[in-house]
Every structure is written in C-alpha cells, then in structure tokens.
Amino acid sequence: MDRLKLMVNGEEHVVEVAPGEMLSDVLRYRLGLTGTKIACEEAECGACTVLLEDQPVLSCTMPAMKTDGKTLLTIEGLRSNGELHPLQDAFVKHGAVQCGFCIPGQIMTGYALLTDNQDPSEEDIRYALRDTLCRCGAYPRIITAVQAAAQSLRSGSPVSEPVMQVSGDERVVGRYAWRPDAIAKVDGTAMYSDDYEFPGMLHGAVLRAGVPHGIVRAIELEQARAVEGVHTILTAPDVPGRVNHGVVYHDWPALVGIGEKVRYVGDAIAIVVADTRGIAEQALGRIGVEIEALPVVTDPVEAYQSDAPRVHQDGNLLKHIKVRKGDVDLGFEQADVILDRVYFTPAMDHVFMEPECSIARITDDDRVEVYVGSQIPYEDREQIAAALGVDESRVRVIGTLIGGGFGGKEDIAGQIHAALAAYHTGRPVKILFDRHESLIVHPKRHATQIRVRLGAKRDGTLVAAQTELYGDTGAYASLGDKVMGRATTHSAGPYVIPHVKSDCYAMYTNNPPAGAFRGFGALQSIFAIETAMDELAEMLDIERVTLRRKNALRKGSIANTGQILDESVGLIDCIERVQARLEEVAGKDPFTARQVVGEPHLSRAWGFAVAFKNTGLGEGAPDRATAEVELLPDGTVEARTSSAEIGQGLVTVLQLIAAEEMGLPLESVRVLLSDTDLTPDGGPTTGSRQTYISGNAVRHAASALRDSISATLAEKFEVPPGSIRYVEGLAQVNGQQIMMDRVASIMNEEGRKPLVSFEYWAPETYPLGTEGDKHFAFSFAAQAAEVEVDLLTGEVRVLRVIAANDVGRAINPLGLLGQVEGGVIMGVGHALTEEFILEGGEVWTDQLARYRMPSIAQTPEIESIVVEHPTSEGPYGAKGVGEISSMPTIPAITNAIYNACGVRLRKIPVDQDWLALEIARKAPDGA
C-alpha cells in the first residue's frame, strides 16, 4: 500500500492505495465520490472525466499515485453555496440529461472548455467533447446547454430556458418541463447500482465459457478456492431452484454444469465470491475448466440447414413466423415490374453507458433484496425467486437509476448470480460487469438477412410483396421470436399492398443471444424495405417520395397483417411535412448530387425514408400496467408503478399526467418507479409502451383519486362535487381555498385513504394468423438526411436530418425532442459506425475501442417536426416514440449516399473502404 495525498474539491485527503489502483477507484470506493462514473476502463468514453490541476483527464486509466500532491475537481465540487453551477443548471433546463450516466463526464469536460473559452462556438464544443460519449444521443442538447451556460457566465444572468413549442391547451401536459431526476444526475448524487455499498459486502465475478459450443467435462476449483479472500465458488449444483432463465422461454442456464452444454462464449460456469473484485477476478484465472468442443454454427441461414450442428435438442429453429395476405402469386402476375433484392444488417450492441451491476443481500426478515437497473423488475423477481426455489414474495427487486437500456436490460444479467451468492454466503454481494463482459454476455440486436421482392404496376401502385427473413437469435431465445415477429410484420413497410407473403426464420446459433434493442426487428426490416423502395422508384422512373406517398398507409387502409387502420395514421402528413421543409432548405431537387463549391471531390445529396412501428406488445400478448396515485399527508402526490426510467423520460411523462389530472403544480407530484415492494407492476419497459400503458394507468388512477377527493370534500362541505376546482395546488370549495395537506387529513378523517390503484388494460390484440387487430396503435415517421460523400476516400458525413414523427400527442415536448434527436443519432451510428463482429462465435468487438458508437463529432443538425394524429385510447392521444425515431434514419442515409455517389448500399454499416473502391471503379478517372 502507498500513501496518497490529494486535494479533492477543496478538501485534503490522505488515503492508502493498493498497487494498481486507478484514480477513479480512489474517488469512488475510498472517498465515496461516486459521481464520477466508470463506463469503459479503456480511455474511450470520457464518462470518468475529472479535472486534475484544472485540466480534464480520464480517471479510469490514471494511476492514482500520479495524482499525489495534486488538486482535483469532481462533479461533486461544482455546486457553490449549495447552488448548481450554471453549466449544471443549463444541462437540466435544456434537456441535456437523459439516462445521466455520461453527464458527469460531459459537464466536467464542458466546464474545462468554459474555463478556457468564455464564448465557445459549436465547433469548439464539438472538438472539446468529441471523445465524451453519450449513448442517449443528447449531443444537440449538450451543445445548447454549454452555450446557454456560457451566456449566463458572461452576462451574470440566470441560465435561460429553451423555448419549446406547446402542444394542445392542457395546463401542464404538452408544455415545457425539465426532468425531476436531472438535478441528482448533474450534481453527482444520482445513485446507479454500482454506487451502492453495504456493510460486509462481498464481490462476485463470473467465469465465462470462452468457447462457443461444447460439453463441460471438468471444473477444477481447488486452486481458486485457495486464493486468500475467496469466500465461496458456486457452480451449477449450487442453484437450488430452476437453473434455466429466459424472458419468454426458460432455455438459458444460469450456470452450466459438468456434462452440460455450453452454447456461446458468455455462458456462465462458476461464480467466485471474494472480499474484493480484484481477488475474485484473480481467482477466476485459477479455475481449471475442460470443455469438449463441438462443431459451431454461427450463421442463421446455415443454422436452418438440416445437417447444421444443433444448438438445442429440438433443433435450431426457434420460430417460423408467417404473414399472409391475399394471393402473392396472383399479385406478382399482375405486376409490370418486379424488384428482387437481398439486404443484410449485422449484430449490434446497445452499449448503454452503465455496464450491468446487481447487488443482492439477505434482509433481517430473511428475504432476498436485489438492487439492479432493470427494464422489467417484476420479471426479474420471478426469475430470481425461481432460481432460488423460493416464493416470489421472498424476493424484492429494487430498481436503481439506469444508465441506459435500449432493450439491453430486459434479460437477466447478474441478478440471479448475485442472489445466489448472497443466498450461499449470507452477505451482501455485488456483481459488476466491466465493458468487456458486458459486450460478450448480454443479448444483441439480431443480425438479419432480408430478401425483398416487390411487384408494382407501371404507375407505381404496389401489388405484391414477398419477404424472407433469417434472424440470428444466438444461443438463447431471449425475446427472439417476438423481435423477429416484429421484423416480419414490418418487412413490407407501411404500404397498402393487396398481396403479401412473409416468412421469417428465427434461428438459434452459437453466437451471443440476440434480443430486444430499440426498433425491435422492425428497424432491420425498415432498412431493407426502404432501400428497396428507392430501388423500385428508380426502376419505375417514379420520384421516390411520390412512390411512397402513393402507396402509403392512410386512415382506413388494411395493413399487411389484415388489420384495418381506423385512426391515427399520420404517415402521409409526415411525408408531406418533411417534403415541404426539404423544399424550403434544399430547393426542388434535393436528391440530385451537388458538388461542394471549391471541393469537387465532395458530393452532397439528400435521401428519404419512412417507417412505422407498433406501440406496445401486441399480437395477442396481454398488455397492462398498474399504477397507484396517493395524496400524502404533506399535500404532495406520489405516482407509483414498477416501470423503468431508462433515460427516455418516463418520470417526467408520469409527473405531467398526474399533475394534469390532479390539478396540481408539477413540483407537487413525485414519481416512484421500479420497486417490487413499493410499486405495482407496470410491465416491461419495451415496445415504446410506457407513455401509452403506464401513462394511462397513472392517468386513470389520478383522475379517480381527484374524483374521490372531490366526493369527500363535496360531502363534508355540502357542495356539488362538480363545483370543486383544483388550482395551483389548492382545492377550491365554495370560494374557500383548502391546502392539499389539509385535504389529505380530511380524507383520512373521513376514513377514505387518499390512494387509488388502477390496473389499465390496453385494447385487446390478436396473434398473427387470426382475425382482429395485431396492435392497438402504430407510430409513423418520415425522414430526410443529407450526406456528404468524399468521392476520393469514401468518407461519409451526415450533415442534416429532418425528422417528422407522428406521436399521437406530444405530452413532454422537451423529452420528445430528446427521443427524436437521440434516435436519429443512434440511426447515424447504425448506418455508419456500429458493427458487432464475431469470428466463429468469438467476439472480436469485445472492447469499446472496437465497437464505435457515434460521437458529438458525427452528430448532424437535426430538425424535429412533431406530427400529432391522436389515438383515441392513448393518454391525451399519445402513442409511442422511443423506437421509431431511429428507424428511417438508416435508409435515409444509405439512400442519400446512393444519390450522392451512385453506389447502392444493401448492407450496413457503410464500409468506407468498399465504398471508395466502388466509386473509383465506376469512375476510373476519379471524381
């Protein structure tokens, strides 16, 4: 141990540090300054940025001893006299905060910039923050916030609030609101799972198989057990209950035992529980495992062949999904033109900034408590209880803040392992993934191969569509059949086509599992169909937007699944709004390549695409959420449901809805989420369903509570209930103002608990192949993207995106803007930077350095057009937006690239190397 003396946030500290300790370890685990976050430990993401002698540095790769005698500033040190620094305040007010995990790094880096430069340009901000990553894609808001803070610092006046377009004429719904969880996220006090410590806490680490397919023949634990500080090592026989878990099918073993099968490199073999994470990891290296290798299958098309190696006993086909409408052969007979193309999308990783972390502990009353950032707390509870072989009532899942999810925190990660470790040791146990483990273990976006055949009349009328999809769901089902189901139903696009036939094969392979990821299969299909539509437009010599508008779904259309769309179909509106705006900014001919003046090797053009996406689970899955709304003795209201805040802004949406219904100011409403003891089941946070489903649950509960309060006050004061008004946090009864805390006590005095629980059931849906609606609502979108292609190097930049989304109703305009911009930026990443690469089932992209998410430097100028075609059941007309915003971005970009340089992209991400050589091949003389 070395003695380290350092000055942190003006306070001197002297600590003993162990060999190998990094500055972030000292700050977080020795000084308890957990505001500094660790997201990669490889100097890639900037989340851990602190100021060392006023300069931003990465604390996760800075040996602690380097800072001996130095002065440090961390996120916790920015408040002065209890007030937020203007930069923190600007991040809150301008919506720069979503999941919050990268925010300390953004703010510290931005703070250093503002120290050097009082009036930074957008370019200065992009240069300073270009290696400080935000997976929520809040970059445009971050730029705005830094500039607003700079303005405030220069002028001495308070940070300005953004001017937001208002939606509708409700009192709070549809108006500007900043998120209530933002303050803790900007001042470093926000608590994510790894920020929790418990007395006597041990640390678990998990031995992964490391081979993609094989039979475990031996596990040798002696040497590992002998490592000092190791408490226990758990293997498959130590699972007292159900070994297999899975969100839909229980096919995924928590631990693979001797004689059992390993199906991917991330399968768990043993859990070491030790005094420290370091000791646990050291002991992992001393476990001997013998695995008899089996032949590997890694491609979904190969997996479908009858002689392919079998991943599961019943074969490799998870599900064959079919959509049938009309008679597709007849349709193609009627067609004048037939297009037939195959498209490819790779596996992708969510790269939520916060790696998975679970902490389990046994409570005094012998229950198991698990702290975890999970998208489905009740599902976790069921799975943990089943693995432990105990009743669900013995398990409590406490949702901590979540540093991003995007679908990647729906499956079990460390929850069961931590619970098993606590169960066997009786001590609290934390299992924290590093980025490497996170990349290897959790489910990915499905890699797909999608064949699209389109038949059209000369005038552009679509008459037939046939699609064939193969989806790689990897070693375990996760949500694979649901994801590929959505891929199938969206594969012919948001168009009116009389004859449709789609077949999808969701295949097991020895790759890491694939599951939920924003866009949920539909994203892959939209890339395929929207590229095909541009190709078809060219074949027919019909303008691309015209072709889409001609065939677009509209009110009264019959979708490919046979569902009649009788309301809330804003697709045409989205197309026309984008088209109109495009003409304003780019003239009448935006899709024709233009050389940049003075730079003849740079070619620019716009591209266009549309999308649709269901809201909610659909296809026959019961979709419900329960919420409670309670008037507390202090006169404030609490809304409770187990749904998850993953950065998308659910807290604000529920706060707005409850405040609206109760006639209260926003600050009187608190939202409590994700605790299986304290909050009722809101269902999974998936499928763009929370605003609609949990929003409706809160809305109904709040309005029932208001009615109950009115009834009570009406009785007590002998006035008609309808005469009671709620204004500015007061009840007005017969001209008398009653404070809400007094109202709460009146309710209690009258023997009426001021609490309403409401279970909301979404409209019923029906499975594919049956009559009836498959989904209760769809969102629609159109986007145009402008790219610049360097004809010499193949480099592509996305310059501008115009995005119109039919969201039904904008409940939270600032949050909606964040979802749209963040979705577009993720789309830019999917088109240009992201590819999860596997070699024979082994993960090559096992570090953040190898899997690139888009940075602020790649962020285009984004314009969001909100289109509101309300859906009658949605709260105030709202439907989902979380997923659709990413979907059209990808084909809009790849179509734009074709328009700029004449090379068609049928595979993402864009391979710059291939593109440059293709451009050169087509024009041998160069640009």
Binding site: P19, G20, L58, M65, T109, A128, D131, A849, D913
Partner: protein, 292 residues
C-alpha cells in the same frame, strides 16, 4: 488483478535511470500511460513489477529553443504541443498530427515520448517526427545517446532500445528555415480501433525559384516500422509541384511502400487508393502555407 506492484515518481533523470537499472528489467517507464495501461490490462504487455513514472521530471516536460534546434521533452503532452506557439511556427505537421489524437482528456496526459516508445508503424505523432527528421535522445544509467528517430524502431511495437532499462529524454528538430513547411493528414475509419488507416507527414524546402529543394515523407502503416519514402523524396528533389509531379509521386510511393490488409481496418487496395489523396492534401497545404 493489479497491473503493477510498486509505483515510483522520480524527479530527475538520474533518479529514474538509476531505478530502472536497479530493477533490472522488471519495470516499465510510464508517462501518460494511455497505451501502456491498456496493453497491460489486455495482456499485450508482460506484467510489470514497478512503474517508473517520468512525468515529474522537469527536463522531460520542456519545450525550448537551443542552438541545434528545438528540444521537445519526451513527457510533453499532446495538448502542450498543439498550443505551443514555437511548435506551431516551426513544426506544423507535428502540431496537426497531435491535434487529431483523442479528445482533450487523452491529449492532456498522452505524451509525445509515449507515442514514439509505443513504436506503432502509424502513430500520428511519430510519423510527424519522422518526416521532421527528429533526433531522439535515449538515456540509461551509463549516459545519453542521440540518434535519428528512425533508428528507434525494430518492428511493430518493438524498439531498438530497452524500454525496461532506458528512457527517451526528448527530441530535437531543426528550426524551420525560409521556404520550409510541413503538413500532416490521415484517413480514419468510423468503425473499429481509432488508429489511422493511413497517415502521412510531409516536410518540404523550396528553392527561391519555386522548385522543391528537399523533401521528407513519412507514411504509416507502410511496413513494420514508420515508413520513410526515400524514392519519392529523391523524385521530388528539383521538381516543381504540378499535376504531373503529383501523379508521378503517387505512383512512386505506391511502388516503394509495403502496404497490407489489416482485418476490420483496411484492405491493401484501399490504402493504395488513398495515397494520391493524402499526397495531394499534404503537399497542397504546404504550398498554401508558404503563400501565407
């Protein structure tokens, strides 16, 4: 597992080299550590008993003008380089190369000596120093030796000096004279590791008649060590810059360089394709500088 057992913070070169000598090969010199720590963590560097941190040695942090040229200490960070007025004036390609690396957090700790000691064939700072014909000073307990920077490299990641017993003190670059200029450029790939697909630094001196008197060109990766394009340099000598010269330059460089395909990074064909563009850009920028 801990990446080292002991951490030393010597404040003089003598103290550092004495420690290295005493530790007899079990230690590693650390400056910013941005490459070394990842190599250790990911198993590309053998375990280290003692880290000898050289960032508190004053002399290694200096940039100063000496009679023989500009001295840049090995522990000078990338951010210090890009903000140093003397360097901006004299060694433009180094400033440009260092400005493209990382964000401010990495540039604040990553040092020029570390970039060179890492010995990658396409290190941005290294390629610039090679084009500038820098001399490097290697120190051990016996004393110091000056040698041309190109002599430091033995292969990808391999140096001719013993990194567990010796350290780089710094670099010396001649001051820029009349008619001289330099430029750096590179092409990156949006996916995968942030190492240049191809980078290039060019230094040129023009005669008063506008012809090239002398040129030095470094390219990475163009072989196992940072590549110096001698055939192209010979070709350029005495030529004026016009379309023919640029065209012939690209052909000459394509002939002499050893390009290869790196999985998930670039094909050999693409790298070959980029040569003309990088030459056009760098030489074009030098011409523009001299007209300023």
């Amino acid at each position: 597992m801990s990446l080292w057992k002991h951490y030393l913070l010597p404040t003089s070169i003598q103290e550092a080299v004495d420690a290295l000598s005493e530790l007899d090969g079990t230690s590693a010199v650390i400056a910013g550590g941005t490459d070394l720590l990842l190599d250790l963590d990911q198993g590309r560097h053998p375990p280290v008993d003692t880290m000898v941190d050289i960032t508190r040695i004053d002399e290694l942090q200096q940039v100063r003008v000496e009679p023989e040229g500009i001295f840049i200490g090995a522990a000078v960070t990338h951010n210090e380089i890009i903000h140093n007025p003397v360097l901006k004036e004299n060694v433009r390609c180094l400033v440009e190369g260092c400005g493209l690396i990382g964000g401010p957090q990495v540039r604040n700790v990553a040092t020029i000596g570390g970039n060179v000691a890492h010995a990658l064939p396409a290190g941005d700072g290294t390629i610039a120093l090679v084009a500038l014909d820098a001399q490097a000073c290697i120190v051990n307990s016996e004393g110091e030796t000056w040698l041309p920077i190109g002599d430091l490299f033995a292969g990808p990641g391999v140096t001719t000096f013993d990194r567990s017993r010796e350290l780089i003190k710094g670099f010396r670059i001649p001051l820029s004279g009349p008619g001289e200029g330099s430029a750096f450029d590179r092409v990156m790939r949006p996916q995968g590791v942030a190492i240049a697909i191809l980078n290039m630094a060019v230094w040129m001196r023009f005669a008063s008649d506008g012809s090239i008197e002398s040129a030095r060109i470094a390219v990475g990766p163009g072989g196992p060590t940072p590549f110096r394009a001698h055939a192209l340099e010979d070709l350029l000598s005495g030529r004026i810059i016009d379309a023919d010269t640029l065209h012939e330059s690209a052909r000459t460089l394509q002939d002499e360089i050893k390009l290869r395909t790196s999985p998930y990074r670039a094909t050999e064909a693409y790298r070959r394709h980029l040569i003309a563009t990088l030459l056009d850009r760098t030489i074009g920028r030098i011409s523009a500088q001299l007209l300023e």
